[in-house]
Symmetry: C2
Subunit: 225 residues, 2 copies
DNA sequence: GTCCAATTTGTACAACTGTACAAATTGGAC
DNA sequence: GTCCAATTTGTACAGTTGTACAAATTGGAC
């Protein structure tokens, strides 16, 4: 018997899936990374799909619970702009920071979600839709109250962009380092969180009724060519 | 001899890769979708990796050329805000709209890029870094001139978020439809382009020296828990 | 028609995949 | 120590993978 081989298998599964996707990682890869045999995986999880489901359920519940908790705190802020900022942090921070201690970190799991979402893995898609949409809806509602007059479409699209920004920051951090000529560290997760929050703060805030306050008349050229 | 089997193979490769990723799609899948035999793929392209390289080179050059062209037009606009908007459109539109006529559309290729980027495919990564970074750098430079006083880090991070938003809008459009309760169509690409441009316009504009004009004092709660 | 290079097909190969299951091992209860 | 259930290992299986290559087919030049 091993000191929690099962935990090690789950952890390594997240790491490998987040790095190369679902299909590129074989059960033997996961077993090897854990110093174990292939059979241990079918013993503990039954199948590759069930292993994935277990990984999701392991992280999803505490992460969304933490989001709800921080959302609750944010909603107690009366100033609309400061509340908006706090709501955005409540959504982003748990995706980057480990929810329960020692489970490998929220960032790695979020990166895995990003990859599996891109791969269109049907198992993952069902789980995601079930587990995350409700939380996302609660956030959109909270955001809407911070930006009176904002159209629903704008809110939903911007929440989509927020998630996409989150994902891509984790998937390809080296691009940030490269494009900045090395002056910015794309792997600095605290900086990433702040940048994401500030950028989406601006994008949500611009949806307000008094949008374009001193800004552009939004009369850009639309025609193509 | 077929009417351009080679073209059909390339087209179907993009479609299938963009749908399920690189590893999940076998050469036999691509052949079957094209009504051809596996051998035709090794004959025309030599290997799966070389096929991928060919797909990239097929779309990359005209897409970035179109971007540069639109960027050139945008740079002739004197008003900084309107120029900013035009630059963003110059980056986004070619990713959604087919560059050369009838090559399957830029959106499908962009979706494929998104998926392969997420999968961390090493072949794709090298090609992307080579082909796209130079164009991205030119855009960042152009954007910087629209927002005097903006720190480089803010510009680079926001250009990262722009790309992430772009990618995720193509990868998971159904989420938009779902979260909006069906009132917004996530597959409406024209709407997606406009939303992406407007959202990132706001995020870039907020980087300006006179940022937070009438806005929040940016003194949000930073501590964790 | 003949000819021939380009193309397409069919098939074979070794390597790897997820899964199943018998055998071996472990470690605590007694 | 014995015993036994839980765990881990080893191995076998059928199916799929990318690749290689000989054979068949194509279609235009002559």
């Amino acid at each position: 018997m091993r000191p929690n081989l099962r935990e090690a298998l789950l952890r390594n599964a997240v790491t490998l899936f987040s790095r190369s996707g679902y299909n590129a990682v074989s059960l033997r890869d996961i077993a090897k990374a854990s110093g174990a045999n292939v059979g241990s995986l079918t013993y503990h999880f039954g199948s590759k799909a069930k292993l994935l489901r277990e990984v999701y359920e392991r992280h999803t519940v505490p992460m969304n619970a933490r989001r709800r908790e921080l959302l609750g705190e944010a909603l107690r802020i009366s100033d609309a702009d400061q509340r908006l900022m706090a709501i955005l942090r409540a959504y982003v921070v748990p995706a980057f920071v480990s929810s329960s201690e020692g489970d490998g970190g929220g960032a790695e799991f979020t990166r895995m979600r990003a990859v599996l979402s891109a791969e269109g893995n049907p198992d993952a898609q069902a789980i995601i839709a079930d587990a995350f949409d409700e939380t996302s809806r609660a956030f959109i509602k909270a955001l809407a109250d911070c930006v009176p007059g904002a159209p629903l479409g704008g809110l939903v699209w911007r929440s989509q962009f927020l998630l996409g920004s989150l994902y891509y920051a984790l998937i390809n951090p080296d691009r940030v380092t490269r494009l900045s000529g090395g002056t910015v560290d794309g792997n600095d997760r605290e900086a990433a969180v702040n940048q994401i929050v500030e950028a989406s703060y601006a994008s949500f805030r611009s949806l307000g009724a008094e949008a374009g306050q001193s800004a552009a008349p939004l009369k850009y050229a639309t025609e193509e060519k």
